[in-house]
Amino acid sequence: MEKQGSPVISCEDVHKFYLAGDRSVYALKSINLEVREREFVSIVGKSGCGKSTLLACIAGLLPVSHGEIRVAGDKVTKPGRRDFGLVFQTSALLRWRTTLDNVLLPVEMFGMSKKEYEPRARDLLKLVELEGFENRYPNQLSGGMQQRAAIARALIHDPKVLLMDEPFGALDAQTRESMNLELMKIWEITPKTVLFVTHDLQEAAFLSHRVVVMSARPGTIQEIVEIPIPHPRTREVLYSDAFLQTTRRLRELLSAQADAKKE
């Protein structure tokens, strides 16, 4: 496994408790996690285990109840960090903007010159294989294409960190697999620090250096699994013994949770 640099994201004894209507949720309990520079880390767990909440806390979209999240040394208190790029389960593309204008949205929000960034936006669209779709509207793109445009948008301001919240969760299995291959290709070209939330164990094992397995109610880190497969990762990886063993191990960890619940 390659060596990564210094820690970029660090969570120290993070707890998250919130009230939602008449419900109170202990979403995260004592989360300790470090993500190093250029490391690809996935968070897996069943729905309701707090994995998306953790990502939202790191992004500054939700305040933590206790503990501290630091990014590149500064404490996270609010959203809007320019060294972050976010991708959600839906593409969140604006229907009234062309693909190119959607990709340029962060530049516009940061008050930077759209003109200056336009060549970069076109290059990124080429990178995600959307060349020729610059002037199409989101509703004219397929689900996979929309998600690729969302990735280009997340990369436009060259952030250090990519936070991805089940970005391929709404896609069919074939598209998801090709998106994974493509994401790996992009990551090889522009290696970012990536935190990737998913409930697909194969996806997590294929993409990541490390996989964080979470258990629910309250959301805690059950185990962090290292993936002993060297990068670059190609389709061949999917058939390797190391990959099969890793996914098996992840599956066992999750089913152990279910058994523990029953008892």
């Binding site: 609010k78 959203p79 976010l86 969140a92 009234w96 516009e108 509703n139």
Partner: protein
């Protein structure tokens, strides 16, 4: 259109040729279907109009002409009273336009304020409902005292009647944004103003225009009713005058003109809506 069965040998040629041929074939079929659909729509509309005019004509036969005018008599009333109608029409048109404009600014403006601030909503909401609960027609004499006998009170009543649905639609539209898009804006550190101008306003466009269409019709209604109660000029006033002087034919003619006027205002608004939504790619077609 005849569809001919092709022998297998005829289906030779490369994909591009076949594509072009099938494309042309499909386009032609689509065109034929479209024309047929339009004819059916037009016939349907004409049938209903015919049935209505027939029912009107048939009913009128049973009443004295002093009380009910037939379609033909209404036409006579229109031809005889043309100059009178043209004299009064501009006043009404001005009242509708101003009432609609004031009501729209009020509806969208207050809607934006309320959608942005919970405090504004809680404080203003009861008074907005009161403004709708108050019998607006009974307000006319009071408004005359403040605004005089001119177009003022009519504009006020038209605006008061038409702003409410627009307000409600604006609030709903501005508040209902795609949650992930909102999260994206937050993650980019967007200000409230940026969220409003670059996200909420666009998302709300379809509902705002829906509200504008309703407001257009209500503004017309408001202006006419206000003239009815407190007017000496305008088509609503002419309606009252013709009623009082037993000019039944003229009254029917004015009624038809007013109906067409409200219809036209709606169609114009719909056209503007179509253009605006088309430009912003917010048009959702059903066909």
């Amino acid at each position: 259109m005849t569809t001919q069965r092709l022998a297998p040998a005829q289906l030779g040629g490369n994909d591009a040729d076949l594509f072009a041929r099938f494309y042309a074939q499909e386009m032609e079929q689509e065109r034929v279907k479209r024309v047929r659909r339009r004819v059916i729509y037009a016939v349907g509309r004409a049938l209903i109009l015919g049935a209505f005019i027939f029912a009107w004509w048939f009913t009128a036969k049973f009443y004295p002409p002093l009380l009910v005018a037939s379609p033909a008599e209404a036409w006579d009333g229109f031809m005889d009273g043309r100059s009178e109608i043209w004299k009064h029409a501009p006043t009404t048109v001005v009242e509708i336009a101003l009432g609609f404009a004031v009501g729209s600014v009020l509806g969208i403006g207050l809607g934006a304020l309320i959608a942005q601030s919970r405090l504004a909503e809680v404080v203003l909401r009861p008074y907005i409902i009161v403004s709708q609960a108050v019998p607006k027609i009974a307000l006319a004499p009071i408004l005359i005292i403040f605004l005089g006998f001119g177009v003022g009170p009519k504009v006020a009543i038209a605006a008061l009647i038409c702003f409410f649905p627009l307000l409600e639609n604006t609030i709903t539209g501005l508040r209902r944004v795609d949650p992930d898009s909102y999260k994206l804006f937050q993650s980019l550190g967007a200000s409230k103003m940026q969220v409003f101008l670059k996200l909420r306003l666009y998302s709300a466009l379809p509902l705002i225009f829906g509200g504008l269409r309703i407001a257009a019709v209500l503004a017309t209604l408001g202006a006419i009713v206000a003239e009815f109660v407190a007017g000496n000029a305008g088509l609503g006033a002419l309606l009252v005058i013709s009623l009082g002087t037993f000019q039944t034919k003229l009254m029917y003619a004015v009624m038809v003109v007013l109906t067409l006027m409200a219809y036209t205002v709606y169609i114009i608004t719909q056209w503007v809506e179509h253009k605006a939504l088309e430009r912003t790619n917010m048009l959702v077609t059903h066909e």
